[in-house]
């Protein structure tokens, strides 16, 4: 296996040739906020827009999940323009996320909390208007509850269900602000061919998919 050495945040690291900067950083213990990235996915979604980093020689910040490592590359995950974009993206996500951590089962394990901590941003955004969607919660499954209001549309659940497990119960529907993860024809999850494996709950970074209390 050919490796490439590069510098991330002043630290010399090595990564497999062809690897993306995001994984190179994470594997070396350097955290870059991310939600939609999947190591094994054939296609990079590049949808959450949180993993911006600065690369020496590039004018604009780039997303770490799409940037391939190069020998001698100098990456700065804490550059001001990269952080600015990541913070704006995060605040935008939070502007349509109901922040009620105390009553959320994901409290403590929620990646949004982790990202907020990393970026030094509050969970409740003051800069933007609160735009909640008020969608119905689906608790039809015997195993888990799906609250689309807390969903950040990262697509991890869709990928695991369709690509990894070959079931394909979940998918994206609608466009723009209405975009939502749902079942075919919006049927309740219990009636949509779900096998109650709960893998989607495991990969969900937020409290959108949570196990029912036993």
């Amino acid at each position: 296996m050919k490796t490439v050495s590069l510098t991330i945040d002043g630290e010399k690291v090595t990564a497999r040739q062809g690897e993306k900067v995001l994984w190179a950083a994470l594997d070396n213990g350097i955290y870059i906020p991310n939600l939609c990235a999947l190591r094994d996915a054939s296609e990079i979604p590049a949808a959450c827009r949180l993993c911006f980093v600065e690369v020496e020689g590039k004018e604009q910040p780039v997303t770490a999940c799409t940037e391939t490592v190069e020998p001698g590359m100098v990456v700065n995950t804490r550059g001001p323009s990269a952080l600015r974009l990541a913070r704006t993206a995060f605040e935008l996500l939070m502007s349509s996320h109901p922040v009620d951590c105390a009553h959320c089962p994901a409290n403590g394990s929620c990646e949004l909390q982790k990202i907020a901590h990393h970026l030094g941003t509050k969970l409740k955004t003051r800069r933007f208007r609160k735009l909640l969607r008020e969608l119905p919660v689906d608790s039809s499954s015997p195993v888990f509850i799906y609250d689309p209001n807390k969903c950040v549309l990262c697509g991890r659940c869709i990928w695991i269900c369709r690509e990894r497990l070959g079931i394909g119960v979940l998918g994206f529907a609608h466009r723009g602000f209405e975009r939502v993860v749902t079942t075919f024809a919006d049927e309740p999850i219990a009636e949509s061919g779900c096998r109650d494996c709960g893998e989607c709950v495991v990969v969900c970074p937020t409290g959108a998919l949570t196990f029912k209390e036993q």
């Binding site: 910040p61 502007s95 208007r129 723009g176």
Partner: protein
């Protein structure tokens, strides 16, 4: 290919061409009057089909046997329906705003009689002593028709018309060249993609030709989605073969076997005419196996898009063609190397492809002699909004905005003042009067904060509120956003919310800084071209018309008197005729009553829904009803 192959292409095409020419001559020089009716969508909307029927009916009644030809759009959409009559002994004359009654008169008085009905004339097609011709128009000095050369002058449903007017000659020529020569020619011509971004076409082709993978594809991007842009539709409706020819040459140059025309289903006439064109081209072996006896085989399929704006983005377009949802994905790899079904694919805009045959035919130097240093050739604009001559204009790159709007478009109707021009649709920006002398090319427009885009040009006058305009465009992009990436899905929604508040007078001055910061972030952070350009209308209006935003926020005043919540209707007592009840009768909510003693009319501001009907009902000699902003300006009635 061997020399014998070249000879066979030349002789096969010569045969086809001479047959087409004799058919065309039979039409033009058959000793009969030829009537051409502009029946593209613009003409049809204005009533061209009724005119067509009236002409046929009257010809039958008068027992005249004249060919009636449906042609496309000449670009003079403001004058539709347009009928062109070529009568032996007369120059071909175009008539404007023809209705069935005028059409019948033209048949009776001009074709049967000898009165050319000068009162209905738009212009003659050729210079003559009888009527002014198009070349006498002030706009003729600025226009240069290359891409639109045939539009409105040939029957788009007859391949012979296209061939007789020089069509497919470039293909025959190209098939006798080496593919690399063609790519080199296109590169030297300096042609840049007409879809908006302006990527050098020759370079794209070269990358695709050199890319590994088979089969390769050529896609014609006819998914024209900008509000106010209609040139791709006009070309597909008026001259579909020119698009096919461009695709064929592209296919030959990059080594492709198949092509797709991606056109939106909302363009049924374009779809129909493109389908007819494909059928006719196949019949003459201009499509299919061993085209014109060469060893080049190519075929084209037509694909109807369902009308999502984002499908104009090339990766979303490919996804849509593959049967997936039209959602963009991350580039690179670019479609030129990994496109349709993962194979190397060239995607070109309709106008880019039409330019190709002219480059092959006339040479790179000829094409490069038109335009500016870094943008060569001509630009097609769809003029819409507050401009007298709405329609299509084709001008050399480097023509100024002022020339396009005031010389070609004849300026603003109703003696109103020019305020701004919105270029490039939802991805473009609003440029003010100070930018009017800007020579138009890809780079100058981008520097000024707009974008060439697909070439929509919406002219705005003093009655248009710039905050409302940017809200309108943002509402469009917001609705058309696929929702995949955070910036576009939520960022445009946030901007839209803030703009809507401002137009209602509920904005805060801090919002302006938030807007411009957010707009910059969306521009830098979005995944695809739609998101990256969506903030342009906001950024450009904030840059050039910040005073209007401030008037809305600080004074609750809409300077253009457009934002409903910030205006009030008021009847000026001194102007009101008093005994007239026109406004009282038309008010839909009975908000208008008479002053008990002085009889002038008063609007009850509580009841008024600001529909504006009273303004139109007030007889022009009184003109007593005015709009005031802020609404608090309405004096208390005495």
């Amino acid at each position: 290919m061997k020399a014998t192959g070249f000879q066979s292409v030349a002789s096969t095409f010569r045969e086809i061409k001479s047959r087409a020419e004799s058919q065309w001559r039979g039409l033009r020089d058959g000793g009969k009057s030829v009537i051409m009716v502009g029946a593209a969508t613009c003409g049809r909307a204005a009533g061209a089909l009724e005119v067509l029927q009236a002409i046929k009916r009257e010809l039958k009644k008068q027992k005249l046997d004249c060919p009636v030809v449906e042609v496309g759009c000449m670009g003079h959409c403001y004058a539709e329906p347009i009928v062109t009559i070529s009568k032996p002994g007369y120059p071909p004359i175009c008539y404007r705003h023809v209705n069935p009654v005028i059409a019948e008169r033209l048949v009776r008085e001009f074709i049967l009689g000898d009165d050319p009905c000068l009162e209905f004339v738009l212009a003659a097609l050729e210079e003559n002593d009888l009527v002014p011709s198009f070349s006498d128009f002030p706009r003729a000095k600025f226009e240069k028709k290359v891409i639109l050369k045939n539009c409105g002058h040939i029957d788009p449903e007859q391949i012979e018309h296209y061939i007789a007017n020089g069509g497919y000659s470039a293909l025959a020529k190209a098939l006798q060249m080496q593919p690399e020569e063609i790519i080199d020619e296109v590169k030297r011509s300096g042609l840049r993609g007409r879809g908006g971004a302006g990527f050098p076409t020759g370079q794209k082709w070269e990358i695709c030709r050199n890319a590994l993978g088979k089969p390769k594809y050529v896609i014609c991007n006819g998914d024209e989605g900008d509000p106010g842009a209609f040139m791709d539709r006009a070309i597909l409706e008026s001259d579909p073969h020119s698009v096919l020819e461009g695709m064929l040459i592209a296919g030959y140059a990059i080594g492709a076997r198949y092509g797709y025309i991606y056109v939106r289903a909302e363009y049924p006439l374009a779809v129909r005419r493109a389908r007819i064109a494909l059928r006719q081209a196949r019949k003459l072996n201009l499509l299919g196996r061993n085209i014109l006896g060469s060893d080049f085989s190519f075929d084209i399929k037509l694909f109807q898009g369902s009308g999502a704006f984002v499908c104009g983005e090339e990766t979303a377009l490919i996804a849509s063609l593959e049967g997936e949802p039209g959602i963009p994905c991350y580039r690179p790899p670019y479609p030129a190397t990994n496109g349709l079904y993962g194979k190397p694919t060239v995607i070109n805009n309709v106008k880019t492809l039409v330019s190709i045959s002219h480059i092959v035919q006339n040479g790179a130097e000829w094409f490069a002699s038109v335009g500016t240093e870094r943008s060569k050739g001509t630009a097609v604009f769809a003029l819409a909004g507050k401009v007298i001559n709405t329609g299509l204009a084709e001008v050399p790159m480097g023509t100024t905005l002022r020339q396009v709007i005031f010389d070609v478009g004849s300026g603003i109707p109703g003696g109103k003042r020019f305020k701004a021009v919105q270029i490039g649709g939802p991805s473009g920006g609003c440029l003010p009067e100070s930018a009017l002398d800007l020579p138009i090319d890809f780079d100058s427009l981008t520097d000024a904060g707009a974008m060439m885009g697909s070439g929509g040009m919406i002219v705005l006058d003093e009655d248009d509120c710039m905050v409302e305009i940017s809200r309108y465009f943002l509402e469009f992009t917001q609705r058309e956003s696929c929702g995949k990436c955070t910036f576009c899905r939520l960022g445009t929604k946030q901007m839209l919310e803030v703009l809507a508040e401002i137009t209602k007078g509920k904005g805060k001055i801090e919002d302006l800084d938030m807007l411009s910061q957010l707009a910059e972030d969306i521009k830098a952070g979005s995944l695809c071209g739609l998101g990256k350009t969506a903030p342009n209308p906001v950024l450009s209006t904030l840059r050039y018309f910040r005073d209007e935003y401030e008037a809305h926020i600080k004074e609750g005043r809409c300077p253009a008197l457009m934002c409903q919540e910030l205006i009030a209707y008021y009847i000026v007592p001194e102007k009101c005729e008093r005994s007239c009840d026109a406004c009282v009768g038309t008010c839909t909510v009975e908000a208008i009553s008479s002053h008990p003693k002085k009889r002038y009319k008063i609007i009850d501001q509580e009841k008024c829904v600001k529909c504006g009907t009273c303004v139109t009902s007030c007889p022009p000699q009184y003109n007593a009803i005015v709009k005031l902003s802020p609404p608090g300006q309405v004096p208390a009635s005495k």
